[in-house]
Amino acid sequence: MTSTRDVRDQPAETEVRTAPPETRQRPPVSRRGLLGAAGAGLAGLAAGAAGGFALGSQEAAPSQPQTAGTRTYPFYGEHQAGILTPVQDRLHFAAFDVITDSRAELVQLLKDWTIAAARMTQGLGAGELGPTAGPYGAPPDDTGEAIGLPPAGLTITFGFGPTLFRKGGKDRFGLGDLRPAALQRLPHFPADKLDPLKSDGDLCIQACADDPQVAVHAVRNLARIAFGRAAIRWSQLGFGRTSSTSTGQDTARNLMGFKDGTMNLKAEDPAAIDAHVWVPGADSKGLWLTGGSYLVVRRINMTIEIWDRQPLSEQERVIGRTKAEGAPMSGGSEFSQPDFAVKGSDSEPLVATDSHVRMVHPDHNGGAKMLRRGYNFVDGSDGLGRLDAGLFFLAYVRDPGTHFIPIQMKLGLGDGLSEYIQHTGSALFAIPPGVAKGGYVGEALFS
C-alpha cells in the first residue's frame, strides 16, 4: 500500500512511500484514494480528494467531510480512542496470552502494536510496505483484506489483564508490584457458567469500526505481529452495537429486542465521565493507570428461543421498560427517570422489584454508573437448533470494585433477567491512558 493515508499523516512517511508519479502504470492501492474516487459522486466528497491522496501530497489538507466510511479518529491522545468514541457498528475483540517471559520482548511487542495500530486507524496498511509491495518472495507485511475499504472509524484499544502482572504465582515481567488492587480476576458470580477458553487473558485488543472487515483486519494483523510473543487466547466478533456513548447516537437494541443502554454515560457529560470512567491518580501502585480505565468484559448468552416465547407483558416486566419506546414502566418516554415507588392496582410497583432497570439503576447502586460499549453477537448455533447468541458486554469503569462487582453480585441473585441469560465468558483489563506520539501504549507501566 503506497499512499493510503490520512491527510494528517506524517510527511516523512509520505515521502518514503511515494514513487514518482511517472513511474506508475496504475494508481497505487489506496484505501482512502479508492474510496474518494468511487464515492465522490455518492458521498459528495471534494473532487480533488482522491488525486491528492494518491499523490501523497502532504501539503494540501482539504477539509473533507467525514462520512461514516471515511471517518478517522486520532490514535494518539490523552485517553485511548475507542472508549468515549461514538460506538461504531462492529467489533472484533481479542484476548492474548503473552508467551514470552522476556520483558524486553513484551515491551517491543507493545511498541510494534502501537505503530501498526496508529497506522491502521488512519487507513494505512499494518506495515510500511503494504499488502501488495515488498519482495516478491516474501509474505507482504499487511494481509490485504482492507484494500479498497475506508478507515471506517477504526479505533484500537489495548488493555492489560491481571495475569500480566502475576500468573500462577510467577511475576514474569517484574510488574507484580505495579498491579493496582482493583485489577484482579473478577469473582465468581451466582449463575456464572464460564468457559475458560472464553475468559481472561494477559492482554486485550478491542477493535471497533463501522465496517466488520476493517475491524477483523486490525486484529488479524496485530495477532500476526504478536506471533512468538503473544498468542490469541480467545476472540469475539460483535455485529451490532448495543449502546451509544454519544447523545448524537440513537439507542440501539439488543437481541432481546429492547433498547439497551438508555441510561449509559455519554461523552457529552465530561463531569460524569471523570467521576465514573477515568482512573484517578489515587492508587500508589497504579499511578501508571492514571487517566486510564478498567474494562469489564462479559460474554452473556441469551436463551433467545425461550425469551421469544414469553408474552410481551412478561418481557416488559423483566426489563422494566416498554419494548416499543423504551420508556420506564412507571411512565414517560425513553429518557424519563423511572419512578420506583409508583404502584399499580395490585399494589405491586409498576417497575417490578426484580426488573433489570431497577436492579442496575444508579440510585440502587451507590450512584455508580458505567460507560457501556457492548455488542450483539451470534456465533452460529449449538447443534440443537438454538442460536449461540447474546450480548458481548463491555463496560468502562473507574473501579470494578465499586462500579461492577457489587452490581453483578446482586443481579446474579435477584435479577428477573437472569432466567433468560447465562454468563459464559469473563475478563477484566486495565486500560492504560492514551499514547503520546513517539511513545507506546502502557509506556508508564514499564518506565
Partner: protein, 406 residues
C-alpha cells in the same frame, strides 16, 4: 498446502545454469555477479521526494518496444520496475556484454502487470532486453553501469548457495536411502504378520519420509499413492500407501473394521515398497536453489501446523509427534544450510529463527518417551496449544527466510 517443487534435471552438469531453476521468484545465477530478486511493484524508492534516484529505473515493455527510463546507472543495487503495457506475456533480462550471460531476469510478466527486478550490479557494459511473448532474442539495447564506489555482490554468495544446495541434496538422498531400507524392514514385518514389530517400525520409517516431505510431495503422482489419508480420498480412488497399512495395524478407532488378508497385506505392502523405490530414483536428480530450500523449510512447518499439531496425520496410530519431530528435523537442515548466507544478510532474522527452533525443540523434548514420543491422545489441550503457539512463533520469521537469502 504449499510445496517446494524441485527442478528436475539430469545431474552431471559441471556448472549448473541456475537461470533454468528460476521458477517463480528469484534467479540466483551461477556466475560471480549478483543475487537478483523480483519484487512486486511498486515499492518505496529512497529519494523520491527530491532528485530522482538514479538506481531506480523503469522499463515500459510492450509487444514491440522496450523503453528504459535511462540507459545507464551508477553501480550498486539497481531496481528495474518493469511494466508490461503490451498484450503478450513479457520478460526482462539484463545480460553481460557478450549478450549471453544472464545477469538478472524477471519472467512471466502478464499484460498490465508491473514487476520489479532488484539486483546488485558491478560497473561495466551490459545489454538490456525485453522478450514479448517470451521467445527469441528479445528487444535489446546497450546498458552501462558506471563505477560509483558501491560494489555489486561478491561471488561468495554464489558459493554459499551452491554449498547449501549440495548439503541439502545430500540430505535428501541420505534420507531417501534410509527411507527405503526402513520401509523394507517395516514391510517385511507387516507381511509376516509380526504386528508388534511393524507397529514399532512404522513411525520410525515414516520419520525419513516426513523429514523430506515437501520434496516427496512435489511428485504429484507419487504422493497420493504413498501418503494419502483416508479422509482425503476422492470417490472411486483406491487407497494405498502408509496410512492404509496404519489403519490395518491400529484398527481401534475404526468401526466394524475387517482386517486385511495375508494376500491383501502383501499386495499393499509391495505397492508401498515399489513406489518408495520410484521416489528414490527421482530424488537423485534434484537440485535446489536458495529459495527452494527456504520455502521447503517453511513448507515443513506448514505441514506441522496443518496436520501434526492437530493430530490429523496419524489418525489411527496417534504417532503424530514422530512426524512433527521429523518435519522440524528437515526444516532445521534447510535452515542450517542457508545460515552462512543469512548471517551476512540479516543476522537478526538468523537469531530469531534459531531461537524459535530451539523453543519448539524444547517442547518436543518434553514429550519424549523412550526412543519415541507420547501418542497424540496423551497430550493435554494445553500442551497442544503450547506446541501450536511455538510453531506459529517459528513460522512467522521463517516465512521471511526465502526473501532474505535470494
Amino acid at each position: 498446502m504449499i510445496m517446494t517443487r524441485p527442478s528436475r534435471r539430469a545431474g552431471g552438469f559441471a556448472l549448473p545454469v541456475r537461470a533454468l531453476l528460476c521458477t517463480s521468484t528469484c534467479a540466483v545465477l551461477g556466475l560471480p555477479l549478483l543475487a537478483a530478486c523480483t519484487n512486486n511493484a511498486p515499492a518505496e524508492r529512497p529519494g523520491a521526494g527530491g532528485a530522482p534516484n538514479p538506481r531506480a529505473l523503469t522499463v515500459q515493455a510492450t509487444d514491440t518496444e522496450c523503453k528504459l527510463s535511462a540507459t545507464s546507472a551508477p553501480s550498486g543495487a539497481l531496481t528495474f520496475a518493469v511494466t508490461n503495457g503490451g498484450s503478450k506475456v513479457n520478460e526482462f533480462y539484463l545480460y553481460g556484454q557478450d549478450g549471453l550471460r544472464i545477469v538478472g531476469e524477471v519472467e512471466n510478466i502478464g499484460p498490465g502487470i508491473t514487476r520489479e527486478l532488484v539486483l546488485k550490479v558491478e560497473p561495466g557494459n551490459y545489454i538490456s532486453a525485453c522478450k514479448p511473448g517470451m521467445v527469441g532474442d528479445g528487444i535489446r539495447a546497450p546498458f552501462s553501469v558506471s563505477d560509483s564506489g558501491e560494489q555489486g555482490s561478491s561471488g561468495n554468495d554464489v558459493e554459499l548457495v551452491e554449498q547449501a544446495n549440495q548439503n541439502y541434496q545430500k540430505y535428501v538422498e541420505d534420507q531417501t536411502e534410509q527411507l527405503v531400507s526402513m520401509t523394507a524392514k517395516f514391510v517385511a514385518a507387516y507381511k509376516a504378520g509380526k504386528d508388534d514389530e511393524a507397529r514399532a517400525l512404522y513411525p520410525v520409517a515414516r520419520t525419513h519420509w516426513e523429514r523430506i516431505e515437501t520434496v516427496a510431495e512435489s511428485f504429484g503422482d507419487l504422493d497420493p499413492k504413498l501418503d494419502l489419508r483416508e479422509a482425503d480420498l476422492e470417490p472411486g480412488q483406491k487407497w494405498t500407501g502408509w496410512h492404509r497399512l496404519e489403519k490395518d495395524l491400529w484398527p481401534a478407532r475404526a468401526k466394524n473394521y475387517q482386517q486385511l488378508s495375508t494376500a491383501q497385506r502383501a499386495s499393499y505392502a509391495d505397492n508401498l515398497m515399489k513406489n518408495t523405490k520410484v521416489l528414490q530414483g527421482r530424488v537423485d536428480d534434484l537440485e535446489f536453489s536458495a529459495d527452494e530450500i527456504a520455502n521447503g523449510s517453511r513448507g515443513l512447518l506448514d505441514e506441522v501446523a496443518t496436520g501434526k499439531v492437530t493430530g490429523e496425520e496419524e489418525y489411527w496410530s496417534r504417532t503424530d509427534l514422530w512426524d512433527f519431530q521429523a518435519n522440524i528435523d528437515g526444516a532445521v537442515v534447510g535452515f542450517e544450510g542457508l545460515r552462512p548466507l543469512l548471517k551476512q544478510r540479516n543476522p537478526d532474522l538468523d537469531r530469531s529463527i534459531a531461537a524459535k527452533f530451539a523453543a519448539v525443540q524444547a517442547l518436543l523434548d518434553a514429550q519424549r518417551v523412550g526412543d519415541g514420543f507420547k501418542t497424540y491422545d496423551k497430550l493435554t489441550k494445553a500442551e497442544v496449544k503450547e506446541l501450536s503457539d511455538a510453531v506459529n512463533a517459528l513460522s512467522e520469521p521463517l516465512s521471511k527466510l526465502a526473501a532474505a537469502v535470494v
